[in-house]
Amino acid sequence: MIATAYAIPDVLVFLTSALLILVGAVGVLAMRNPVHSALSLIMALFGVAVAFVAQSADFLAAVQIIVYAGAIVVLFLFVIMFLGVDRTETVRVEPLVGQRVFAGAGVLVTVAGLITLFARSHWVTGAIAVSSSGQPLSTGSANVTQLGTAVFTTYLFAFEATAALLIVAVVGAVLLARRERAVDAEGSQS
């Protein structure tokens, strides 16, 4: 019934990405070992990349794989190994009584509210073509052209601001993770 309304490949791609995302996300949450959580995170991020490709965001899918799965998760794994915290966390103990129940209830209400909002709203108002003359988004290399044009013209100021943000973040991370040499020297002398 579904297959008659929508093209079967599209449905299959959606189901694949949904499976990857949900299994990966639950894995991040449920795994005891942080390394396993990080690997599940890669799975979920890959699922999101599949969903990006299915919705003609080819460039973002590539960036998703390269930046998220390639760089950010590796950074996570590096910190996990570096700190040696890859032992299992005791999940059985619950320091705050009822924390999980309240968290679950809050999340349930939020998600149910979101889904209700999606179901009852008419997002496609017909008022499309805010910036792209109403043409459907291109795929493949044309998508890169389109996105690049938008980033370097309409959103140029934001682009420059993110450059500054990255510089500040790198300097901040170096400062935060640096050992304080003066304290170490005193410690070794005494």
């Binding site: 929508y6 949450l29 979920a44 950010i72 996570f76 924390q99 400062l175 993770a177």
Partner: protein
Amino acid sequence: MNVPAAWYLVLAALLFGIGAFGVLTRRSALIMFMCLELMLNAVNLTFVTFSRTLNDIGGQAAVFFVMVVAAAEVTVGLGIVVSVFRRRSSTSVDELSEMKG
């Protein structure tokens, strides 16, 4: 015809919920960061879905910037985790309670 946007929106809502539950319940700072990434990705998925539905490239540009900010956030956040771990030998957020009233 592509599958309706609502499917992807519901998927993003579920992903956001799972991530939010993880941030609220897990106590290891590293796992909380991973769940934050899940929430950011849920929002990215919503942006891309609306970008397709409304034929507006602005949504994809927003995702681009969210990714940059997420990378910066993870860098600084993990720097803080490393620096806290040096003093405490622990990444559990329950032990950071000096400012408790």
